[in-house]
């Protein structure tokens, strides 16, 4: 078990170090979601009261699109110099590699959300009417839901033609229940009209179900060549 976690941590540290030196994915993601926010501001220009109802959707759509940018780079990096083939023949458990990639993406997308959230507050003059602390579990669970499936499908689309295009085509349909839950929970918290409890539980269920499925099936996907 110790070797499992040490492999996970080593891979994670390597990915973070690489990202820290190049900052490719993070910069692209940040600028991309900034553009999305600005375009939304120009297209809707709502009153503060209306914006509470729509901003839950806008925030998550922006993060979903931005996350795809990072997810696409997850495995492409390992293709150079046949790193992925080395992983395949090594005795290290495939799930450790997968978990490291998911954690890396989770950290990146969470960082992006932390940086972008203030922008949404400024542009839309938001004031939370419900229990604001509940936004934290929603953000964490929602990000995990996007990232765990996204990392899995990114590995899957490695074997396809035009793989950058393939990832959203695979990821979005399966993510619909998660997106519904995230958006509904965020809107409920912002407007304070309803409890977000059910949707948080549903997000948790989604995360547990798909994390289990990903861990169980990742070996099959990694070895498929």
């Amino acid at each position: 078990m110790t070797s499992f976690w040490s492999i996970t941590l080593v891979t994670l540290a390597k990915d973070i170090r690489l990202e820290w030196r190049s900052k490719d994915a993070l910069n692209a993601m940040l600028f991309f979601s900034l553009l999305v926010v600005v375009i939304f501001v120009f297209s809707f220009d709502p009153l503060a009261e209306e914006s509470r109802h729509i901003v839950g959707g806008l925030v998550w759509v922006a993060f979903l699109f931005a996350a795809v940018v990072a997810l696409n780079q997850t495995w492409a990096r390992e293709l150079r110099n046949q790193v992925l083939d080395a992983y395949r023949v090594s005795p290290a458990p495939a799930t450790a590699l997968f978990l490291a990639k998911v954690l890396g993406n989770f950290i990146m997308v969470s960082l992006l959300e932390a940086l972008m959230a203030p922008l949404f507050v400024i542009f839309y003059n938001l004031r939370v009417l419900g229990p604001a602390w509940q936004l934290i579990p929603v953000a964490l669970l929602g990000t995990w839901a996007l990232v765990v499936n996204g990392t899995f499908f990114a590995a899957m689309s490695l074997r396809t033609r035009s793989r950058e295009l393939m990832l959203p085509l695979l990821l979005f349909p399966v993510s619909i229940p998660a997106v519904i839950s995230m958006v509904a929970a965020t809107t409920n918290i912002l407007t304070g009209e309803d409890s977000a409890h059910f949707f948080i539980v549903l997000l948790l269920t989604y995360d547990v179900v798909f994390t289990t499925a990903c861990l169980a099936l990742f070996e099959t996907v990694l070895q498929a060549e």
Binding site: T160, S162, L169, P173, I176, L202, Y206, V209
Partner: protein, 305 residues
């Protein structure tokens, strides 16, 4: 077997004509909706057929993944047997019985569980090895066609009855749409993936899609209870004459779907045979240096695939 195909085609055509006649002229007119409701005889049978085909796709995909290793194959068999046994006994236990939603009978739940378990073994017996994957792709393609019919007839029906084309909060409309999206992405993956392991990846995606369906259902269910929408059906009783016509139509649609699946299945099998033969030929050619020069020319002009 090949002789049965034209016979079955004629029978299906006759059944479809009979069902059409029943639906348009024999079935009584609805008291509230008038003649508009008759679209139900196309909408509902298509939906049932599509769901059945998607379910077959799911069973075939699970079995395909399970058969990759002998250990998982054995484990999967026992799991399915356990599902069958628990599914038959559990609904009759009083505590569980109380948990069942209104309108769901213990006997029907038990039958469903039994059919699921039986289907797994029947599919495994008649579709060994790669045939499972051929079955999966056939079921998915034909299922998407029927699901498209559902999604087109739904709004056509909703417009005169509800006054709106699309009810975003309606649970059945929306979950059918999501199901359709998932299976379209399944077909896109099959089309775009060109490695030899497409089958495995597609099977994995089918399992993910199946896991997604209950979650979609719950998320929309809660969404709807918050924003009530005009929803028709659900819980209402149906005239027995209407039900009879509906079942005749479903039978005709099932026969038609079976026919289409059959010919698609044969086509896919043939396509794979041709592919294998070509691959074998390409392997053998360089091995024989004494091969006739004309043959070498042929392989040159064909070029790499």
């Amino acid at each position: 077997m090949k002789k049965a195909f034209p016979i079955l085609s004629v029978l299906t055509a006759l059944l479809l004509v009979y069902a059409f006649y029943q639906a348009l002229w024999v079935a009584p007119t609805d008291a509230l909706q008038g003649d508009v409701y008759r679209i139900i005889y196309y909408h509902v049978p298509s939906a049932w057929t599509a769901f059945l085909l998607f379910f077959i796709n799911f069973i075939a995909s699970v079995e395909y993944l399970a058969n990759a290793k002998p250990s998982t194959q054995r484990a999967a068999k026992w799991v399915v047997i356990a599902i069958g046994i628990v599914g038959v006994i559990a609904p009759f236990i009083p505590q569980v019985r109380q948990q069942l939603p209104v309108g769901m009978y213990p006997s029907s739940v038990a039958t469903t569980a039994l059919i699921i378990a039986a289907l797994y073994f029947v599919v495994g017996k008649y579709f060994p090895g790669q045939d499972l994957d051929v079955l999966a792709v056939t079921a998915a393609e034909v299922g998407v066609v029927f699901c498209t019919i559902v999604l087109i007839t739904g709004p056509i029906w909703a417009r005169p009855v509800w006054g709106i084309w699309w009810a975003p909060g309606d649970i059945r409309l929306t979950s059918t749409l999501v199901l359709w999206l998932i299976y379209v992405s399944y077909l896109v993956l099959r089309r775009f993936s060109d490695s030899a392991q497409t089958q495995k990846l597609a099977a994995v995606l089918a399992v993910f899609g199946a896991l997604d369906v209950p979650l979609v259902y719950f998320s929309i269910w809660f969404f709807r209870t918050q924003h009530p929408q005009p929803v028709i059906g659900g819980g209402g009783s149906i005239d027995p004459r209407m039900l009879q016509v509906l079942l005749i139509n479903w039978m005709a649609f099932l026969c038609f779907a079976f026919l289409v699946c059959w010919s698609r299945y044969r086509l896919e099998k043939l396509r794979r045979e041709v592919e294998e033969a070509e691959a074998l030929e390409a392997l053998l050619e360089p091995a024989g240096p004494a091969a006739a020069s004309s043959k070498a020319n042929v392989s040159l002009t064909r070029g790499p695939k």
